[in-house]
Symmetry: C2
């Protein structure tokens, strides 16, 4: 796939979409973590929270890769997951939006 | 250090002391974990709970080693930490108690 150029304006849009999606996903994990911790009454449950956090951290670190070469893929995933909408992508070039849509629904 | 022989009766005492100390230490970690999780409002605090649990799990796994060759050392540590008392060791041979005491207060 040919490398796309990102204008400064597009970089601003991308950063905003990226940060908002990451914050929202972290907030979900935080809520789930607090709920599991509050329910835990046995050491086993505590160690399973540790495993949960470890897996989520690795998942987040891999998924949220802010290299311009990876953003199309990430935004495609986020669109498929319903974490962002096409409206959030307003300001990106039609070619980028088209590629994101194709990743999302392929 | 010469290998000590453990009678069946001593093994029972050792198992009881070991399990009670481990349960108590796990209960402390569980309480601390729940308290930290309840206070967490930011993802950073959640990841620091993960680090806390990871370190505690490694500590517990290393410390609570139920090999007879290691029990004297463990019980010495537990005695020094105030997690067990000499009364808990009743039923072990005077030589074992003496070695545990020496480990504890050396």
């Amino acid at each position: 796939m040919q490398e796309l150029k990102w204008t400064d304006a597009e970089k601003k849009v991308a950063r905003k979409v990226f940060d908002a999606a990451l914050d929202a996903e972290l907030a979900e994990i935080l809520a789930e973590f607090k709920s599991r911790a509050a329910k835990a009454t046995e050491p086993e449950e505590m160690w399973s929270v540790e495993e949960y956090l470890n897996a989520r951290r690795k998942h987040i670190d891999t998924k949220y890769d802010y290299r311009y070469s990876q953003l199309i893929l990430l935004f495609g995933n986020l669109l498929r997951e319903g974490r962002i909408s096409e409206a959030d992508l307003r300001g990106l070039s039609p070619e980028k939006i088209d590629r994101i849509r194709r990743f999302a629904f392929m």
